[in-house]
């Protein structure tokens, strides 16, 4: 006979199981109250083909063997709120293509496997998809996951379109086709310089560039790299850096950072934050009764910005797409905006198209264009994409720089009258930057 394990040990195991169950729930984005009204205001849009040069044969049901695109996404775990967004776009695009008669008459099929927000699982998921002989793959969400999947995908000779790879300076190869293009350089140590210059140009375009700035940045690969380039750019333009602090990912108490910012009272607060950091910083500002002169946020969750209400007015945000002309005023963009809002509302996601959803669609447009031009053959698709430009919802993309990044498409958006709008560069701006710190 054996002694039973200590009750504490069993309790430990039960607690561990409970925590894992809770993490499975991931998280959902809560809509602000006016979101339903704004969604209802989105006009109906006519069905068109999702890519330029493709005919939309509405009503012609596709037949034959499906063209299967496999992907690994974080559908559970801490990255699930964004991972599920990319899954929603994938399903939307597949339905869209099939409503248009498929690709050369063949139906498109999406096969997704949950990676549970774990990069190690991403690797085996792509091995599994390739073993299952999917025709193509779509990249996962996030820099670590993208690089974890790159190994098996590249070895197997598959094209690797990615939506939001946050580690652009880590070389994947000629099969990498990023939708969120940053860089426009051959030197990987300067991948974020163009994005920083865009921000500087935007600020200078106002005629009132900041004389002082305070940086608060999350310890996260993308935010740290971007912050480094922005500091250099602003210092070069004569801005005084009043403070520069880094905080751990997951920080929720911004009290000490808020007090430092209040003491410095800079013209510009640069928050290199992700997710809900901006919400937590504003809570800390409220607690001390401080209102920043101006603020720029690098990678905020769109719902977090929306939840700030009037306080967000004037906030500048890094972005590659907002729903405003000229990018948002094409037949493809209008149809996507309408259908995405419906799908997102159904799935409890932020119902408006911004960087993540637009990048996700652009990644699909890259792949679909490659298939349409090169056929169901990864080598041909890779060769075609490397030699040509692709029209996407975020602009025309090419794959001819370091790590297949072409021109930098990072832009500056601003919240104006409760709505996000691109304000820089001028060729994609839907409004002028309102900046006077």
């Amino acid at each position: 006979m054996f002694h039973a394990p200590r009750p504490a040990v069993r309790g430990l195991a039960l607690s561990a199981a409970a925590v894992l169950l809770l993490t499975a729930c991931g998280g959902v984005v809560k809509d602000d109250k006016s979101a339903d009204d704004r969604v209802a205001e989105i006009p109906d849009a006519e069905l068109v083909a999702p890519i330029a040069g493709m005919e939309c044969a509405e009503g012609a049901a596709p037949t034959g063997d499906p063209i299967v695109v496999g992907g690994s996404l974080s559908l559970t775990g801490p990255l699930a709120p964004t991972g599920t967004l990319h899954d929603a776009v994938a399903e939307l695009v597949v339905d869209w293509v099939n409503e248009c008669g498929g690709i050369d008459g063949r139906p498109l099929e999406w096969k997704v496997i949950d990676d549970q927000s774990t990069p190690a699982t991403v690797t085996s998921n792509y091995e599994r998809l390739i073993g299952d002989k999917v025709d193509f793959v779509m990249g996962p969400y996030g820099g670590a996951a993208t690089l974890a999947g790159a190994g098996p995908v590249t070895r197997a000779g598959y094209a690797y379109p990615t939506a939001t790879n946050g580690a652009p300076d880590k070389l994947i190869g000629e099969n990498h086709f990023p939708a969120w293009q940053m860089g426009g350089v051959d030197d990987p140590t300067h991948m974020f310089d163009a994005q920083a210059q865009t921000l500087l140009d935007a600020l200078e375009s106002s005629g009132n560039p900041p004389e002082s700035a305070f940086f608060a940045t999350a310890k996260f690969p993308t935010t740290l790299s971007y912050r480094g380039s922005v500091v250099t750019a602003l210092e070069g333009a004569g801005t005084t850096i009043e403070g520069d602090v880094e905080y751990d990912l997951g920080t929720t108490d911004f009290s000490s950072i808020a007090i430092r910012i209040q003491n410095a009272d800079p013209d510009l607060v640069y928050l290199g934050g992700i997710g809900a950091d901006v919400t937590n910083l504003y809570q800390a500002f409220d607690a001390i009764g401080y209102e920043p002169r101006s603020i720029y946020v690098s990678l905020p969750a769109p719902a977090a910005v929306a939840a700030l209400g009037d306080k967000a007015d004037g906030m500048m945000i890094s972005s590659i797409y907002e729903d405003n002309p000229p990018l948002g005023d094409t037949p493809i963009a209008r149809y996507f905006t309408k259908t995405y809002s419906e799908v997102a509302q159904r799935d409890d996601l932020f119902p408006f198209v911004e960087t993540q959803a637009a990048a996700s669609l652009a990644a699909w447009q890259i792949l679909l264009t490659g298939i349409t031009e090169g056929g169901v053959d990864n080598a041909a698709v890779i060769a075609w994409l490397n030699a040509n430009e692709v029209d996407t919802v975020v602009g025309k993309l090419s794959f001819d720089g370091f790590n297949n990044y072409g021109i930098d498409i990072n832009r500056v958006a601003q919240v104006q009258d409760g709505k996000r709008v691109l304000v820089w560069p001028e060729d994609v701006a839907g409004a002028e930057l309102d900046y006077n710190p």
Partner: protein, 331 residues
């Protein structure tokens, strides 16, 4: 008894080596990269579960820091790759030593006082994780917050050229972990550890040097987890703090061990195998949330119905050698 002359132990170890050899030959023969990648993860979890059971299972000191030792091994390997051209065996040793050194420092300090037993030990190991994450995030030599791209340093190396090579390495580590687990199953070392779990004060009064045993076993457990971190760094290709030090890792390891049971040395092995296979199978359920919930609920049910875990539910062979002092121990 001299463990080296214990034929039963040697038979078990030879069986483990035999299974490992078969796995190394058979898995690649499937001709599927997925089978190899899955096999690599499978044996890595086995190393982690066996090494957690080695200390926490045997002594009853529940550690939430096992993922830290695994992560330290991963980051130590990444640092050596990044800053040197050292061969993989050096990388492997660095990973194990880094984890062992951390465990030695923590163990020497924590086990010096009886105040830090029980729940407080668990909290300390949890706090250790936050300290280590902060250090790694701020020290540029290790990471500095931007992540480390390992793949660019391992391309062309034997270990980095194929997942099957990583599978061979991880299987070797699993054999090592199993060997250590077997060694604790019916040796004086194991008896001492289990006497700590049963009643540490009584063990102390009977002359068991509990402090020394706890420190050394904690270090051995950490070294094994750290060693497993080296091939993991190559497998991931890019390491960043959030992924490497995820709290899910120690939680899964604890669940695997409790599920498999701590009354037999191979309990954690069975637990790890069950969870890994179940997770993979449930990926096909169609609903990722549902598959996670099914996994968690299944584990809760098994733990509630089988207090000794899966291994404890299997009856021992009639006539198997029983040592009264070892009742309830990992054998």
């Amino acid at each position: 008894m001299n463990a080296l002359r214990d034929h039963a132990l040697w038979r078990q170890f030879v069986a483990v080596v035999g299974c490992a050899v078969v796995a190394v030959v058979v898995v690649p023969a499937f001709g599927s990269d997925f089978a190899i990648a899955f096999g690599f993860q499978f044996v890595t979890w086995i190393v982690l579960a066996l090494s957690w059971g080695l200390f926490s299972g045997n002594t009853g000191y529940a550690s939430f820091g096992h993922g830290v030792f695994f992560g330290i091994g991963t980051y130590a390997a990444a640092a050596v790759f990044r800053h040197s051209d050292a061969p993989f065996v050096v990388v492997l040793l660095a990973a194990g030593l880094a984890a062992g050194a951390l465990a030695l420092v923590v163990g020497l300090a924590v086990f010096a006082s009886s105040r830090f037993s029980g729940d407080l030990f668990g909290l300390i190991t949890l706090a250790m994780a936050f300290v280590v994450v902060t250090v790694v995030s701020n020290v540029a030599f290790l990471d500095g917050g931007t992540g480390v791209f390992v793949r660019e340093h391992t391309v062309g190396s034997w270990a980095g050229s194929s997942t099957s090579h990583l599978f061979v390495i991880a299987t070797g580590l699993a054999v090592l972990a199993a060997g250590v687990a077997i060694a604790t199953s019916s040796t004086r070392w194991g008896s001492a550890l289990r006497s700590i779990r049963d009643d540490e004060q009584v063990a102390e009064s009977l002359g068991v040097p509990t402090y020394r045993y706890k420190v050394l076993t904690f270090v051995a457990s950490a070294v094994l987890a750290g060693l497993a971190g080296a091939p993991q760094a190559i497998y991931l290709g890019y390491v960043e703090v959030g992924a490497v030090f995820s709290l899910n890792i120690p939680l899964l390891v604890i669940m695997m061990t409790i599920l498999g049971g701590i009354t037999r040395w191979w309990g954690p092995l069975i637990g790890a195998a069950t969870v890994v296979v179940l997770r993979e199978v449930l990926l096909d359920v169609g609903s990722p949330e549902l598959s996670q919930i099914i996994l968690g609920a299944a584990l809760v049910v098994v733990i509630a119905l089988l207090p000794h875990g899966l291994s404890g539910a299997i009856p021992r062979r009639r006539g198997a050698r029983r040592v009264p002092a070892l009742e309830g121990g990992a054998r």
